[in-house]
C-alpha cells in the first residue's frame, strides 16, 4: 500500500525518514521559507548528486531564494502554480514515487501545507562525461563514445539525428535498481511490430538488478544457448545513429556505456562506422578481410590439425618436411600442442584485460614474445603452432565486435576437437552444423544470415552492402528491416545541364 503524501510536513518527514533510515549518504534539511521565515520546508538529496559548491546557481537554490521573498500565505499556491516553470520538475503523490524521484539524482522538496513532493532537477549522479571510446576504434569518423549516463547517451544520439521522428521510449528494469532503459528509434522507419516485440520482451522478466545492458541483453534474447549474440553492441553514438537511420532500434541502459542494437545480423556485426566514411574500394577490401578473419578465427587451428594429421598428401613435400623437422623433439601430439597454446593465449588475453593499462600491454609482450619463444626453445611446442595460434588471434581481433568475436573464439575449440579426431570430415561436419544453426537463428524476426538469405524480400538490393560495400550511390535503399515504403535513403538530383 503506497504511503500518500499529506499536507502535514511533520507526517511526511516522519514517513520519509523511516523509509531512508540509516542512509548516511542522503542529506535531509529543514529550511525556513517565506518573508518572515516562519513556514517550514524540507529538502532531501543524495550528497554528491547535487551542486553543493555553488548552491545559489543551482535550480533548487534559486527556487528556495524565490520562496524566501514571498509572504507565507502565498507559498503553497506559488509552488502549485510554478511547478511547470522549472524544467524537468515533477510532483509526486506518494512517498515511494517521491523516493524514486530522488534516487535518480535530484532534490526532493516538501512544503508544509502542500500535499505533494516536488522533484527539482540538479546535476544528477557523477559521471565520466563524454570520452573517447576504447573499443571500436576507427580511422575516420567521430571519436566520441557513450558514457554511463543514459541522458548523456540519448543526447549524443539526438545531436546526430536532429529530427522530431526520433523517439525515446523510457522504461525501467530491475526491481531494486530501477534502472532507466531507453528505446531510441525513428518512428517512421521502424518495421511494424519490432518495437512492440522488444517492449514485450522487456516486460517478460523481473530481476533484482539490471546493472548493465548485458543483463538486459541476456534476458531478452530468444536463443539463449546460441554462442552468437542476437543484439549488436556499440559504444559509438555515430554507429547507433546509423542503426537508427536503418530503421533499427537502439536500447540504452543507465550506467552502461554499451548500447544494444536490434535487430542484428552476421553482416551488421562485420560492418564498422568507417566503412561508410571511407571510399568504397578500401571499405570493401577491409570488409572482405573481416569476413575472412571471422572464418579463420574459428577454423584455422582445426584446419592445421586436419592437414597435418590426416591429409598430408595435399601439402608440398618441402613444406611437409620442414613441418616434420619443426615438430621434432616435441613430446605432445599436434592437437595437445594446439590446445596448450590456445589456452595459454586465452590466459594471456584474460590477464591483459584485468590488469591496468600499462601492465596489460606488458603482459602481452611478455607472454607473446618471451613465453612463446621459451616454449619453442624448450621443445614444448613447435614454431608453426605458435604462428597458427598467433594468426588465429589476429583474426579474432579483426572482427569488429567483441561479443561476436567471442563466439568464434569458443567455436574454435569445437573445431579443434572435430578436426583432431575426424580430420577434414570433422571440419565439414562443423561447418554444416554451424550453417544449419545460423540459418535458423534470427534476431527479432530477421534471419541472422540476411541478406545472404531471403534477399528477395528487398529486391536483392541489400546484397550491395555485404562482402563488398558498393559506392554510396548504389546504396539508395535502406535494408530490409526498415518499414516498407520508407526504404529510400538516397535520392540523386540530376545535375543541371549547362
Amino acid at each position: 500500500m503506497p504511503i500518500q503524501i499529506t499536507p502535514s510536513l511533520k507526517e511526511n518527514i516522519d514517513n520519509f525518514e523511516t523509509l531512508f533510515s540509516d542512509c548516511a549518504d542522503i542529506k535531509k534539511r529543514k529550511i525556513k521559507v517565506g518573508q518572515k521565515l516562519e513556514q517550514q520546508c524540507y529538502i532531501a538529496y543524495i550528497e554528491v548528486a547535487i551542486s553543493n559548491v555553488d548552491w545559489k546557481d543551482s535550480a533548487v537554490g534559486k527556487f528556495l531564494q524565490a520562496l524566501r521573498n514571498l509572504p507565507e500565505e502565498e507559498l503553497v499556491s506559488y509552488v502549485k502554480q510554478n511547478v511547470e516553470g522549472i524544467s524537468d520538475s515533477q510532483p509526486f503523490a506518494t512517498m515511494e514515487d517521491a523516493a524514486q524521484g530522488m534516487l535518480t539524482g535530484d532534490v526532493l522538496f516538501f512544503l508544509d501545507g502542500y500535499n505533494k513532493a516536488l522533484k527539482i532537477p540538479d546535476k544528477g549522479y557523477p559521471g565520466r562525461g563524454v570520452y573517447e571510446t576504447e573499443s571500436e576504434k576507427v580511422i575516420r569518423g567521430s571519436n566520441e563514445g557513450f558514457s554511463e549516463s543514459i541522458k548523456l547517451n540519448t543526447a549524443l544520439i539526438r545531436k546526430r539525428l536532429r529530427s522530431p521522428h526520433v523517439k525515446v521510449k523510457e522504461s525501467f528494469a530491475g526491481r531494486r535498481t530501477h534502472t532507466n532503459v531507453d528505446l531510441v528509434y525513428m518512428k517512421d522507419l521502424i518495421y511494424p511490430g519490432m518495437l512492440e516485440e522488444i517492449e514485450k520482451r522487456l516486460k517478460e522478466f523481473e530481476i533484482d538488478g539490471a546493472l548493465d545492458s548485458g543483463i538486459i541483453e541476456q534476458l531478452t534474447e530468444k536463443r539463449k544457448y546460441s554462442p552468437f549474440p542476437q543484439f549488436q553492441t556499440t559504444q559509438r553514438p555515430d554507429r547507433a545513429a546509423m542503426a537508427i537511420l536503418e530503421g533499427r532500434i537502439v536500447l540504452l541502459s543507465d550506467n552502461s556505456p554499451v548500447a544494444l542494437i536490434l535487430p542484428a545480423t552476421y553482416n551488421t556485426f562485420i560492418q564498422t562506422s568507417d566503412d561508410y566514411y571511407s571510399r568504397w574500394e578500401i571499405a570493401s577490401f577491409t570488409r572482405l578481410l573481416r569476413y575472412l578473419a571471422s572464418f579463420l578465427a574459428m577454423t584455422l587451428p582445426g584446419l592445421y590439425l586436419a592437414m597435418t594429421n590426416f591429409h598430408t598428401q595435399i601439402l608440398p613435400t618441402d613444406l611437409l618436411l620442414s613441418l616434420a623437422a619443426a615438430r621434432q623433439g616435441v613430446p605432445f601430439p599436434a592437437a595437445v600442442e594446439i590446445v596448450i597454446m590456445e589456452l595459454a593465449f586465452e590466459l594471456l588475453r584474460e590477464a591483459g584485460v584485468r590488469l591496468p593499462g600499462a601492465n596489460g600491454n606488458t603482459i602481452g609482450i611478455v607472454g607473446g614474445l618471451i613465453i612463446g619463444q621459451a616454449a619453442v626453445d624448450a621443445n614444448i611446442v613447435s614454431p608453426i603452432v605458435v604462428i597458427v595460434v598467433a594468426l588465429t588471434a589476429l583474426c579474432s581481433f579483426a572482427v569488429p565486435n567483441e561479443e561476436f568475436a567471442t563466439a568464434f573464439r569458443i567455436l574454435k575449440f569445437v573445431f579443434i576437437f572435430l578436426c583432431a579426431y575426424l580430420g577434414f570430415f570433422g571440419f565439414l561436419l562443423g561447418m554444416l552444423g554451424i550453417l544449419i544453426h545460423l540459418s535458423h537463428l534470427e534476431s527479432f524476426g530477421i534471419p541472422y544470415l540476411a541478406p545472404f538469405v531471403g534477399a528477395d524480400l528487398n529486391g536483392y538490393r541489400d546484397e550491395r552492402d555485404t562482402f563488398l560495400r558498393l559506392p554510396l550511390n548504389f546504396l539508395k535503399k535502406r535494408p530490409v528491416y526498415t518499414r516498407e515504403g520508407a526504404r529510400t535513403r538516397l535520392k540523386l538530383k540530376k545535375q543541371e545541364k549547362k
Binding site: 518495421y191 511490430g193 519490432m194 516485440e197 590426416f310 591429409h311 598428401q313 595435399i314 601439402l315 608440398p316 613435400t317 575426424l422 580430420g423 577434414f424 570430415f425 565439414l428 561436419l429 554444416l432 552444423g433 550453417l435 544449419i436 540459418s439 535458423h440 534470427e442 527479432f444 524476426g445 530477421i446 534471419p447 544470415l449 540476411a450 545472404f452 538469405v453 531471403g454 534477399a455 528477395d456 524480400l457 530490409v480
Partner: protein, 368 residues
C-alpha cells in the same frame, strides 16, 4: 515479421534442387554413361533432359490443381485410400533415397577423407546432423543451401576450367556408335537422377511465389543438365571411355589431378570433396525432410517427433544395410527402374485426370 514464416523463395528452391540433383548425378552418372554409351552419353543427357521437361510439365499440371497441400489434392482427386497409398509410395521413395545417399556420402567420406573411420559412426553423425537440420524446419534448410551455393559453385567452375587443358578432343569420338538399347538405359539412368525434382510438389505450401514453382524446377533441370554435360565431356576428354568406366568416382579423381597455377597445395581433391559432401548432404537432408513431412501428414501428427524418429531409424538401418549387403545396390537400382520411375510418372498422370473427371462430374451434379 520475416523469419519463421515457413515461406521460402524461388531462389532458395532452385538452388536446393540444383544441389539435390547435381551431387549424386555428377558423382555416379559419368561412370554409368561411359560404360554404357561412351561418347554418346551426352545424347543420354539430352534425352534425359527431354524426359525431365515432360516430368516438369506433368508436375505443373498437378501444381495448378493443388489448393492446400499435395496430400489433400491426392485425396481430393483419388479418394482417401488411393491417396494414402500414393503417400506411402512417396515415403518409401524419399526414405530409401535418404538411405542410399547416406550410403554414398559415407562411402565418399571413408574413401577420400577418413579411410580408417567406421561407416556406422560416419553414417550416424551425418544422420544426426540431418536430423538437426530437419528439426529446424524448411526455412533453415533452404537458407543453408542458398548461402553455400556459390561457395561450392565458384571453386568447381574454376577447377573445371583448369581441367580443360587436359582434355583430348579425340576421346570424344566415336559418336553415334551405341545401340539404341544402351542409349535408352543411359537416358533412363539420368532420368532417375532427376526424380528428386518431384519434391516441389510437397513444397507448394511453403513457397512465396507458388505459380512459378514449375518454372523454377525447369530452370534447375536446365542448369543441372548443362553442368552434367560439361563434366561428362571434360571427364571423357581427360580419361577416355575405358578408364572412366573403371573409375568409381571419376570427378573426384579428376580434382586430384588438377594443379592450380602457382598454387600452394599439391592436391585439391580433399578440398573439392566438400562440393560433393555438401551436395550429397543436401539430398540426404531432402530425403529425411520429405519422408518426415509425408509421415507427419499421413498420420496427422501435430509436431514431427515420431515421424522424424521413424524416418531416421529406417534411413539409418537401410543406409548401413548397403554396406553389409553389397547386392542391395542392385536391388535399389531395380526398385528405382521398375517401381519408382513408372510409379512417379503414373501418379503424375493419374492425378490430374482423376481430378479433372471428379471436378467435371461434381460440376455437372451441381448443375443438375
Amino acid at each position: 515479421m520475416f523469419a519463421d514464416n515457413w515461406k521460402i523463395s524461388l531462389r532458395q528452391i532452385k538452388r536446393l534442387l540444383i544441389l539435390d540433383i547435381f551431387g549424386l548425378s555428377s558423382l555416379m552418372l559419368p561412370r554409368i554413361l561411359s560404360s554404357m554409351t561412351g561418347a554418346d552419353g551426352i545424347f543420354c543427357l539430352l534425352f534425359g533432359m527431354l524426359g525431365g521437361i515432360l516430368l516438369v510439365w506433368l508436375m505443373q499440371k498437378n501444381l495448378k490443381n493443388i489448393r492446400g497441400n499435395y496430400y489433400n489434392y491426392m485425396i481430393d482427386a483419388t479418394g482417401q485410400i488411393v491417396g494414402d497409398i500414393f503417400m506411402v509410395f512417396y515415403f518409401l521413395y524419399f526414405v530409401t533415397l535418404c538411405s542410399f545417399v547416406l550410403y554414398q556420402t559415407t562411402n565418399l567420406v571413408l574413401t577420400w577423407l577418413l579411410p580408417e573411420g567406421s561407416y556406422v559412426w560416419v553414417s550416424l553423425l551425418l544422420l544426426l546432423l540431418a536430423t538437426y537440420g530437419t528439426i529446424r524446419g524448411i526455412e533453415g534448410r533452404a537458407r543453408v543451401y542458398e548461402i553455400i551455393f556459390w561457395f561450392l559453385g565458384i571453386p568447381l567452375l574454376v577447377m573445371l576450367f583448369l581441367a580443360l587443358r587436359e582434355v583430348r578432343v579425340d576421346y570424344w569420338t566415336p559418336i553415334v556408335s551405341s545401340t539404341g538399347e544402351n542409349l535408352f538405359h543411359g537416358t533412363i539412368a539420368f532420368f532417375i537422377f532427376l526424380l528428386p525434382l518431384t519434391a516441389i510438389l510437397f513444397l507448394k505450401p511453403f513457397c512465396r511465389k507458388k505459380d512459378k514453382l514449375a518454372t523454377c524446377a525447369g530452370s534447375a533441370l536446365g542448369i543441372v543438365t548443362l553442368m552434367n554435360g560439361i563434366i561428362y565431356l571434360i571427364l571423357l576428354g581427360v580419361f577416355g571411355q575405358n578408364t572412366m568406366g573403371i573409375l568409381k568416382r571419376p570427378i573426384i579423381t579428376l580434382m586430384s589431378m588438377i594443379n592450380l597455377p602457382g598454387g600452394f597445395f599439391t592436391r585439391q581433391d580433399v578440398f573439392m570433396t566438400a562440393v560433393w559432401f555438401f551436395a550429397l548432404f543436401a539430398l540426404l537432408h531432402t530425403g529425411l525432410f520429405q519422408s518426415t513431412l509425408i509421415l507427419k501428414e499421413l498420420f496427422h501428427e501435430s509436431g514431427n517427433r515420431y515421424s522424424l524418429c521413424v524416418s531416421l531409424l529406417v534411413a539409418f538401418f537401410l543406409g548401413v544395410g548397403f554396406f553389409e549387403n553389397v547386392f542391395w545396390e542392385e536391388i535399389y537400382e531395380i526398385y528405382q527402374k521398375w517401381i519408382v520411375l513408372p510409379g512417379m510418372v503414373g501418379i503424375l498422370l493419374v492425378l490430374p485426370l482423376a481430378y479433372h473427371i471428379k471436378t467435371t462430374y461434381t460440376g455437372r451434379k451441381g448443375e443438375k
